[in-house]
Amino acid sequence: MNNKLLLIGIVSFIIIFVYWLGYGLLFVEGNSATFIGIILVSSTIFFYIDAARSGKEIYLRPIAGLKAIEEAVGRATEMGKSVLFVPGISDMDQVDTVAGINILGHVAEITAKYETDLNVPTCRAIVMESARESCRESYLRAGRPDLYYDDIVHYISDDQFAYAAGVNGVMIREKPAACFYQGKFYAESLLLAETGNSIGAIQIAGTGSASQIPFFVTACDYTLIGEEFFAASAYLSNKPELIGSIKGQDIVKFMVIVIMITVFVFDTVRQMGLLDFNILTFLGLN
């Protein structure tokens, strides 16, 4: 265990040392703080992924919205209605969409297991393609490849509100019993969530768009807020390496908090005139 830590430490040190040697020559000047940040973040997360792989138990606090997913699909099954999954309006160049598609994989696995209809309207053709891949895999994993067909995932329009209008149409005419909104959303979030609310569906939202979280919080039953949304697929997968990465992410967060407090303390001391040391300059942030 400790050997691995040492090994990762040595490798990171060597990388940073090489960077330092080539600084200004091989490497661009001016963004050394970011470089060191990347190495630090990567090695921390990698360490915990590795630890989890070798069998370390990791506790994750429960997130209500994730527990509710299976429940929601179950209810749709009981009612004989379909499940709607909206992967947001951004393309695959946003990490949010990637996270949303990963969650879709888990939802599809559950619908396959329960033999419930799934409907995934998309706003981008590339998202449509990867959502299909993801659903096909899930149906296969659930042992029900016979239930899968390509039109589970279909394209509506690249335009934001045309897409919203189309999804709205699906909702008011097909009346799904469970609606998932997982991805990057803009103004259409409330339009979707309010319509979903008016048809009485269970709604579970998750998004990394800070400005849309309030609408989901007020109109949906459960909302995965910001970082929770990105952690969701790891939670659901139960794979040790993904769960390890969540732990690593937590440690990075802890480091950010510690650094912020350190910056605050040192800067306060500096402002009092007790110490002639500017921590921001030291960290390369000024």
Partner: protein, 295 residues
């Protein structure tokens, strides 16, 4: 008392279409009868900051205005654009327009044609409209290093080297100020991250209300100098420009945002009233729901 309670409970369970109707009327009535609804407009510190920054620019300075909105968000931002152009042209500042959104250049064309004539400004001599380039942040980065790698011609197809105002303008460093009129992505955030922060050019923004809470950390950090938030922000800026210009002997018509503030205020009041009503009902019926054990 019991009757009152019943009324409140009945109101509380009203069909949401009544709410729609109320909101619709609250906007429509002040529009149809503007004389009954007039309100004084007082500028917030953020709008004042924007005004002061622009007003401090010298005559003949160069300002880049980026149009990052389209017809659907026009009501919120276009008034800011008009007021801004009034302000800039009255100070004989050269204006350069770019669009990061495809429909942004329609907005830019409309704004210029509404304002330029009044100040006798000529296209190509006093202002230029470079049009839309796809790519978002890549465009911003490109402009930062060399405008001519991004744009070889302007919106009307003129070569950049033939345009008088483009003389001695090589990249963003040649501008004194950047103003982003932004309705989302790509927008103000990209200008801060990829142009204004690295190059140290002052910038302000006029953005949609919904974006304000996302952009406010940058304003607090002084990476953006002031912010016009949505239509109310536009109205405040319009008012500041109008008052100042009239002191300088130029008459500007009251702007669209200022006119619409009455409707805006009415709608807000109606919504707040609805919320209060909803809460009274909620409070009166709380015990029964508690028993029911609904979430």
């Amino acid at each position: 008392m019991d009757i009152l309670k019943k009324i409140f409970i009945a109101l509380g369970s009203m069909d949401r279409r009544f709410i729609f109707l109320l909101v619709g009327f609250s906007v429509l009535l002040p529009k149809l009868y503007p004389d009954f609804f007039t309100l004084p407009i007082k500028a917030s510190s953020h709008s004042e900051r924007v005004f002061a920054e622009i007003d401090a620019l010298e005559n003949g300075a160069k300002v880049l205005v980026s149009f990052e909105y389209g017809p659907s968000t026009k009501p919120e931002i276009h008034p800011s654009a008009i007021a801004l152009l009034n302000h800039l042209f009255s100070k004989d500042i050269k204006v350069y327009a770019v669009a990061l959104w495809p429909d942004g250049n329609f907005m830019a064309t409309e704004a210029f044609s509404a304002v330029a004539e009044k100040y006798g400004k000529q296209y190509g001599k006093d202002y230029v409209n470079l049009g839309y380039k796809p790519g978002g942040e890549a465009v911003v980065k490109g402009l930062a290093s060399d405008i001519r790698t991004m744009y070889t011609v302007d919106l009307l197809g003129n070569e950049l080297d033939e345009i008088i105002v483009m003389e001695n303008v090589k990249n963003l460093l040649d501008f004194d100020f950047i103003f982003s009129l932004s309705a989302g992505y790509p927008g103000s955030k990209e200008w801060v991250q990829f142009a204004c922060d690295p190059l140290g050019i002052p910038m302000s923004t006029g953005c949609t209300s919904i974006q304000v809470t996302d952009i406010i950390p940058y304003v607090e950090n002084d990476q953006i100098k002031g912010i016009l938030s949505g239509m109310p922000g536009a109205a405040e800026y319009e008012q500041l420009v109008r008052n100042t210009l009239s002191l300088r002997g130029i008459d500007v018509n009251p702007g669209k945002a200022s006119i619409n503030m009455a409707a805006q205020s009415m709608a807000h009041i109606v919504i707040v009233m609805l919320i209060i009503l909803g809460n009274i009902t909620y409070y009166l019926t709380r015990k029964s729901t508690k028993k029911g054990g609904v979430k």
